[in-house]
């Protein structure tokens, strides 16, 4: 097992309600590896036409 720590941005589309945000993020994060630790460390409006928000995520993955 090898661990890696990533710090990256993800879009939060306006179509995803806040109550579904966790599942939306997890469904994307697990594509990168086995999740050990993660959180949103910043959130910003991206000022696009659709009202998308930008999330900064810090996460540790185990790539088995």
């Amino acid at each position: 097992m090898k661990l890696s720590e990533l710090d990256f941005y993800m879009d939060w589309p306006v179509s995803i309600e806040v109550k579904n945000l966790r599942k939306y993020l997890i469904s994307n994060l697990i594509k990168k590896g086995d999740l050990i630790r993660w959180s949103i460390i910043d959130i910003q409006n991206s000022n696009d036409f659709y009202g998308t928000k930008k999330l900064r995520i810090k996460a540790v993955f185990a790539n088995l």
Partner: protein, 352 residues
């Protein structure tokens, strides 16, 4: 007995004014436990180096398992006493290792804790600190497999809870460490500590907590009282052993025959610092429509409700107000009835 089960989180490694140091949120945890009658919190809140306390209303649950509880995957079952096994990083130098063994013996002799066994890892865990990529404390270990293997060895020998003592490099940034000791910065090792305990929780599913092994550093005359509990002795192990001694069993909820003391469906609220709403436990509570009690507690993050727009959100100025809010939930008192101005009830009829 009336209770209002509540999760209390002070995220690790983000420099919270209350709880960002060495067990300095413990008095707050006791207050919130008094209000709720049942508080689920994590080691970072309760561990003050050599100082900690037990409270039958407080459930000591490692962060990864706490997230699983918030997601509704596990229940918590009270135990009278765990059999604790300790994993020691093989990189810990001999004298410091002996100090830790003596501390464990002291906890058995003086506190009546059941520390049953220990194991040394087959090779060093290989701590890698990271506090450069963002201001949030981070990092990882190079050899997670040896950690898991050691944990399995303890469980095979009857351990029901695991303490981990990892060796932290002496060349870690002294300026950053002193900033933390003087109450001005983020705990530089907190992120790696969380990774270590999350690995045990995720792969071995037992209560777990971590204490760093650090060689003594020079006296700092400007020490902040919030960091002072880490200056008391040679190790940070006692608080971990006290916390784990009766940390609840983690019960998988697909095991229908197991009784639990706290079921996640009983959960009513989560208390979290303002700006730190981006953790999984908070988002899981949002998913379930629970009360988010957001407390003004200065930290380096800015993930607030301004952009999340969660409706069931209660912002308070301090933990005293948070305790009052929980108490009002417990007693079924409408918060609006306490606050002013008090508006008339709305007409939602057909002609409104």
């Amino acid at each position: 007995m009336e209770i209002s089960p509540t999760i209390f989180i002070v995220p690790t490694g983000i420099g919270c004014e209350v709880g960002g140091f060495a067990g300095d949120a413990l008095p707050t945890a006791k207050l919130l436990a008094s209000a709720s009658g049942c508080l689920i919190t994590h080691p970072n809140v309760m561990n003050g180096g050599n100082l900690s306390e037990k409270d039958e209303r407080i459930f000591y649950v490692e962060g990864y398992s706490l997230d699983r509880f918030a997601r509704g995957e596990i229940g918590l079952k009270s135990v009278k006493q765990n059999k604790i096994g300790i994993i020691f990083d093989s990189d810990i130098e001999h004298q410091l290792f002996l100090r830790h063994l003596q501390v464990a013996d002291a906890c058995v002799a003086t506190l009546g804790i059941n520390v049953a066994s220990y194991i040394r890892t087959k090779k060093p865990l290989g701590i890698v600190l990271d506090y450069n990529s963002s201001n949030v404390s981070g990092g990882l270990i190079e050899h997670p497999d040896v950690l898991i293997e050691a944990g399995k060895g303890l469980i095979d020998n009857g351990a029901t809870a695991i303490a981990v003592v990892a060796n932290f490099p002496n060349d870690s940034d002294l300026k950053q460490t002193n900033n933390y000791r003087e109450g001005k910065g983020v705990d530089p090792i907190a992120g790696v500590e969380a990774v270590i305990s999350h690995l045990i929780s995720k792969y071995l599913k037992v209560p777990c907590a971590h204490a760093p092994a650090l060689n003594p550093i020079e006296l700092n005359e400007k020490l902040d009282p919030r960091a002072a509990s880490e200056e008391i002795g040679y190790t940070f192990l006692p608080s971990v052993l006290i916390g784990l001694s009766n940390a609840p069993n983690l019960v998988e909820l697909n095991n229908a025959n197991q009784m639990v003391s706290v079921h996640p469906d009983q959960l009513e609220s989560i208390v979290v610092p303002d700006g730190a709403l981006g953790g999984e436990a908070v988002l899981a509570c949002v998913e379930r429509g629970l009360n988010i009690i957001c407390v003004k507690n200065q930290n380096i993050l800015n993930v607030s409700n301004k952009l999340l727009n969660y409706p069931n959100f209660i912002k308070v100025n301090n933990y005293l107000e948070a305790a009052g809010t929980i108490l009002s939930f417990k007693k079924g008192i409408n918060l609006k009835s306490i606050r002013r101005p008090l508006n008339s009830i709305k007409n939602v009829g057909f002609d409104a």
